[in-house]
């Protein structure tokens, strides 16, 4: 059972870690200084979540790997994040579309995990849920602002969301092995979160005057370590230094 818990904690930690890394790529490149700072805020929150979840994952695994070891010394196929978070930033609109979809999902998830029967998970979720509520709000604001802004910004948001529709099911995928942990109340059944997610996305898209989610072929399976081409590039950058000096402490 503990290897399923380990894997599930990787899912939680890797989602936050990989998205934080993407947000780091924006540093110094955002449309205004204010936006730059705001993206840094999101990134810092996500990095904090990743550190806690991966740290706990390492403890559960019991092989002496800490959060850094897990973050910097796994290959792409060992990462369990959903495909959405590893997608490239694209323009600011695409970044906000990704953030809105992910934070909306993550908010529903953490609202559930606050009641986890695993006290460590409940504790991390309790801290994170406030952060994520803010992420979901601010990204929804941007989706609305840009969707219902200029003609150009509207089109960019259409294109931005278009990149992501194929990755929605993947975010909610549950492995059969995780059922027992769900039944014990350790994990949340992600599938059960889907209707609320769909409703919220539809609501914000409507307010943003954007077309509804597109029903396209769904690409899996980030949770099983089958990623898109983008993840190994991201990891190549993120892990460059620790991989070159595997025994160094920083």
């Amino acid at each position: 059972m503990s290897d399923i818990l380990f894997r599930s904690l990787l899912e939680l930690g890797d989602d936050s870690l990989i998205l934080a890394q993407r947000l780091c790529e924006w540093c110094g490149q955002a449309p205004s200084v204010e936006v730059d700072l705001s993206l840094s805020n999101l990134g810092l929150d996500l990095m904090g979540q990743a550190t806690l979840f991966l740290g706990y994952a390492g403890e559960v695994e019991g092989k002496g790997r800490d959060a850094d070891r897990l973050a910097f010394h796994r290959d792409a196929e060992q990462f369990r994040n959903c495909l959405l978070v590893e997608q490239p930033n694209g323009d600011f609109g695409q970044t906000m579309a990704r953030q809105f979809l992910f934070s909306t999902y993550q908010l529903a998830l953490f609202e559930g995990l606050v009641g986890s029967t695993d006290p460590r998970i409940a504790e991390i979720a309790a801290k994170a849920v406030k952060e994520v509520r803010y992420h979901a709000d601010i990204s929804a604001d941007w989706v609305i602002r840009l969707g219902d802004g200029t003609e150009e910004s509207h089109q960019r948001m259409v294109d931005g969301f278009d990149w992501f529709w194929r990755f929605i099911d993947d975010m909610f995928a549950v492995d059969a092995n995780q059922r027992a942990l769900i039944d014990q109340g350790v994990l949340v059944d992600r599938a059960a979160l889907r209707p609320a997610f769909d409703a919220r996305v539809a609501e914000v898209l409507a307010e943003a005057t954007l077309p509804a989610a597109q029903p396209v072929w769904q690409v899996g399976a980030g949770r099983e370590g089958r990623h898109t081409e983008h993840l190994s590039h991201l990891l190549g950058v993120m892990q460059q230094l620790p991989r070159a000096h595997p025994e160094a402490a920083w």
Partner: protein
């Protein structure tokens, strides 16, 4: 002239000049240039550190670095606001930066080549900035002085974080120690250049001191920095790349070698090793973000129009 006399008396009495107060045009101009240059330095200064953010070697170091860079952006914002109180808009200042009319600190035109550079920037560059900035907490222009109080508090925090990176690497593997020494070798002289030309070649210093825009000369500050930093390098077990460096018992200060002024002036002219990269990155960020700023404005206008219609 009565106005000038009153102004100069207030400054001499260490009173703060506030935005609505009368001030000489030259004072306004000098301050605007200095504060906006300082603001630009904070913003451009995000880039050399950002170059290693995605490659920071641990989660903790990455979070600390991201928070630090965020602080710098925040400093840029306070300083733009302080400069705006003198009557120049942020757009105008940014335009001056992108067109090359406005300057920023020469130091940010040097490259960050390994992770120890992030340590060296915190330790040396923020260290030098603090030397420059501490006296500015008592500068004569109120908004600037108040911004500097906040900036200085955070900078000294950054300096300790930078020193901590250097310490970890200087006590790390041979490769890490070599990186730390390499970083010191490359950042030492550019840090000394941060204090500007020597007093002999700094004709505006006297005026700035009289106006309490500056409170110490370039060479005085540079000496202070050297005196404070040499013992820190010794603590790290690193060698400062200056064969002329030695303690002068008589002066009670360290003597040090001559700065390569040719290089300094080339960098001031915008020919620094990484100047093209920095300006390209800033211009790209600004231009690529134009549609976002336009959309935000358009949405705001729509929203206001809808509110007005609803209220009518």
């Amino acid at each position: 002239p009565a106005l000038i006399a009153a102004f100069e008396a207030r400054v001499a009495a260490d009173e703060f000049i506030e935005p609505k107060d009368w001030m000489p045009e030259a004072y306004r101009r000098t301050l605007t240039r200095q504060i906006s240059q300082h603001a630009h330095s904070e913003i451009v200064g995000m880039l050399p550190e950002g170059n290693w953010l995605t490659r920071a070697p641990s989660l903790k170091r990455k979070a600390i670095l991201l928070a630090k860079i965020q602080d710098e952006g925040g400093h840029g914002l306070y300083l733009y606001c302080a400069a705006e109180t003198l009557g120049t808009s942020r757009e105008q200042m940014i335009d001056a930066l992108h067109s090359g009319r406005a300057k920023y600190s020469t130091i940010f035109n040097y490259p960050t080549l390994n992770w120890a550079d992030i340590g060296a920037i915190g330790w040396l560059v923020d260290g030098a900035a603090i030397m420059n900035q501490v006296p500015l907490q008592r500068t004569s222009y109120g908004p600037y002085a108040r911004a500097m109080v906040r900036v200085c508090k955070e900078e000294s925090f950054h300096q300790r974080q930078g020193f901590d990176i250097m310490l970890a690497m200087a006590n790390g593997s041979p490769a890490q120690k070599a990186m730390a020494q390499d970083a010191l070798n490359r950042w030492w002289w550019p840090s000394l250049m941060m204090f500007g030309p020597s007093d002999d070649n700094s004709p505006n210093t006297a005026q700035s001191i009289r106006w309490r825009i500056k409170r110490e000369t370039n060479d005085e500050l540079r000496q202070k920095f050297v005196d404070a930093t040499v013992p820190q390098a010794e603590l790290l077990g690193l060698t400062i790349p200056d064969p002329a460096l030695k303690w002068n018992e008589e002066r009670g200060h360290y003597d040090f070698g001559e700065i390569e002024w040719d290089e300094f002036y080339a960098v001031v002219r915008g020919e620094g090793p990484t100047a093209k990269e920095r300006m390209k990155a800033r211009r790209a960020a600004w231009n690529d973000g134009a549609w976002v700023r336009a959309a935000a404005d358009a949405h705001e206008a729509k929203r206001a129009a809808r509110s007005a219609a609803a209220a009518a």
